[in-house]
């Protein structure tokens, strides 16, 4: 089931200074995690990723994902420590056509003599706020027993 990204999440994903990571798995289930700065949110509300190398592990894993209904995960982190994880599913890859050709021209303007294998369209299906302090508050509310006793002892142990 797709989810709609918030304005904040979209802005973070479309910020060139944000760090973006794409995680896929190979046929044996081994994870493959790589920084992918071309990740952005397109007008259709989906996440688009430009794959420049046809034979890359990420591209192969994305092909497996679209063939066998597997999910991928994207993590984005901004300079202000905002961080989100988005789990999603590849819906489509553009290997020809207007969108492909637009990105082909743009990526060459940015990087020079490079190729473009495909424009992957990833539907966001779950968003997790990965900001540690928010996650901590959330866990303490839901699981109040998940703590070490010395943290609540009257006398704190001195290091």
């Amino acid at each position: 089931m797709s989810v709609q990204l918030t304005e904040e999440q979209i802005a973070l994903l479309n910020d060139r200074d944000s760090h973006k990571v794409l995680a896929t798995v190979d046929e044996s289930g081994n994870p493959h995690v790589v920084f992918k700065q071309s990740i952005h949110v397109a007008e259709d509300g989906n996440i688009h990723y430009l794959e420049l190398l046809e034979s890359s592990r990420t591209n192969h894993n994305l092909v497996r994902a679209i063939w066998f209904d597997r999910k991928v995960s994207i993590v984005v982190k901004g300079g202000d420590k905002q961080s989100f994880q988005i789990k999603g599913e590849p819906l489509e890859v553009h290997v020809t056509g207007p969108l492909f050709e637009k990105h082909y021209v743009e990526i060459q303007e940015r990087l020079g003599d490079v190729d473009l294998a495909g424009v992957w369209v990833i539907e966001p299906q779950e968003v997790i706020n990965e900001n540690f302090w928010l996650r901590k508050v959330d866990e303490e509310a839901k699981h109040p027993l998940f703590l070490h006793l010395d943290r609540i002892a009257k006398t704190k142990v001195q290091h």
């Binding site: 046809e54 092909v63 819906l91 020809t96 021209v105 060459q108």
Partner: protein
């Protein structure tokens, strides 16, 4: 159209059965294969959103379509994983998939169920341009989503001797195209060069060029004239590139070593395919009498093996018309026997560096096999998987003829991850 007249597939595994039977094979490639096997019919609703300004309409091709007609219909389809489906308009009584409009999108529909959404091929810009000699460039180079096809000559000399391959309609279709569209039977190198130059203006549109034609038997040695035509055309194409070699495939007759060495040395060609069409000498002799008589099965195979020394492993292949090995009356009686025999022969080629791939046999009205029926989807999927596994086993890449640089082979779609 009466349902009773339709071809039925009651005794075969259905698409869903086959998808369930082979969980390790992608559903999308199985769908592509079945669509190629059964053909398509565009509904009026689907045609209502076709825009010839942006969608590629049917352009000249080497072979005819299953309905035997030349109609102004979309060229073909794309699946969402980038897989190309090259498929013909097919008469309704043959029970093709419908391409219909569902929720504003084009979809493959079977038994009133949406099988998968599809897209039409984008029209290349050069299709609106004519050569300086006045020929529409679409008549010089036919586009696929990422490939340019040059059908240099669409006459095959085996037909002159009534020894054409029995599944082939090349000459009948050529006559039809010439009469109805004015498509030239033989291309001039300067028209080809000019068309390629125009096509290359569209950034990101094409990744490879494929040349093919009918066999030409004449020359000092068998096929010498065919080799000369290809060299002339390839050199004209090469004028447009800064590098001597450019990603390309030649699909031609089985040339001897001297001819192959000339082709490689004098042109930018990077890969070589010579189609055996069907594996096994007995079937080859029956189905391809011209090829059998002029070169012979064993020598054809040996010429492919020798080509590996010139073009390198992974750059030499042979194409099959998958399914004709089961044609009546002299084909295999069982799909298992046909598969075992074909894969055994393909393995003997793979051991020597020659890769084998297939197109789905479509009995065409202009061919000797016009009244036959192609095999089951299960057969084609086992064939695709078997040929792919041979490439895995022998470390043979198929970069030159994969889903993007060709798109007409279910087995090389599977090899996309090699």
């Amino acid at each position: 159209m009466s349902v009773a007249l339709k071809r039925t597939f009651q005794h075969e595994l259905s698409l869903n059965d086959v998808v369930a039977k082979y969980p390790d094979l992608p559903r999308l490639v199985i769908i592509k294969t079945d669509v190629q096997r059964r053909g398509i019919h565009y509904t009026e609703r689907a045609l209502s959103i076709v825009n010839p300004d942006i969608h590629q309409m049917r352009s000249p091709y080497l072979f005819g379509s299953r309905d035997g007609e030349i109609k102004d219909l979309p060229e073909s389809l794309l699946l969402r994983d980038g897989t190309t489906i090259l498929v013909d308009p097919t008469p309704l009584e043959q029970n093709p998939y419908l391409v219909d409009l569902v929720d504003g999108r084009l979809a493959l529909v079977d038994n009133d169920e949406v099988v998968e959404f599809v897209k039409l091929w984008p029209k290349p810009k050069y299709y609106d341009v004519k050569t300086s000699s006045g020929i529409p460039m679409s008549h010089i180079a036919s586009a696929r989503p990422q490939r340019l096809n040059i059908f240099q000559s669409s006459y095959c000399h085996f037909w002159a001797e009534h020894k054409e391959c029995r599944f082939c309609d090349i000459v009948n279709h050529t006559k039809q195209q010439k009469n109805e569209l004015g498509v030239p039977v033989r291309l001039k190198p300067y028209d080809v060069s000019e068309t390629i130059r125009e096509a290359l203006k569209e950034k990101g549109r094409f990744t490879s060029i494929c040349l093919t034609a009918g066999s030409v038997l004449k020359g000092n040695e068998l096929f010498d004239n065919e080799v000369d035509f290809y060299i002339e055309t390839l050199q004209a194409i090469g004028e447009n590139f800064a590098t001597k070699k450019f990603p390309s495939e030649l699909i031609s007759s089985a040339f001897n070593e001297k001819q192959l060495a000339r082709l490689y040395a004098e042109t930018g060609i990077t890969s070589y395919t010579s189609d055996l069409e069907v594996l096994g000498e007995e079937k080859f002799n029956w189905i391809c009498p011209g090829k059998a008589e002029s070169v012979g099965y064993q020598e054809w195979k040996q010429r492919l093996v020798r080509a590996v020394d010139i073009f390198g492993r992974g750059n030499v292949g042979t194409g099959l018309v998958g399914g004709v090995e089961l044609a009546k009356p002299y084909g295999f009686l069982s799909e298992n026997d046909a598969l075992n025999s074909t894969l055994d022969e393909a393995e003997s080629l793979a051991e020597q560096g020659v890769t084998t791939f297939f197109i789905v046999w479509v009995p065409r009205p202009g061919s000797d096999f016009h009244d036959q029926q192609n095999p089951s989807l299960d057969y084609f999927i086992r064939l695709a998987s078997g040929l792919h596994q041979l490439r895995v086993k022998y470390g043979l890449s198929i970069d030159y003829n994969d889903y993007r640089r060709c798109g007409n082979h279910p087995d090389t779609d599977l090899s996309r991850l090699l």
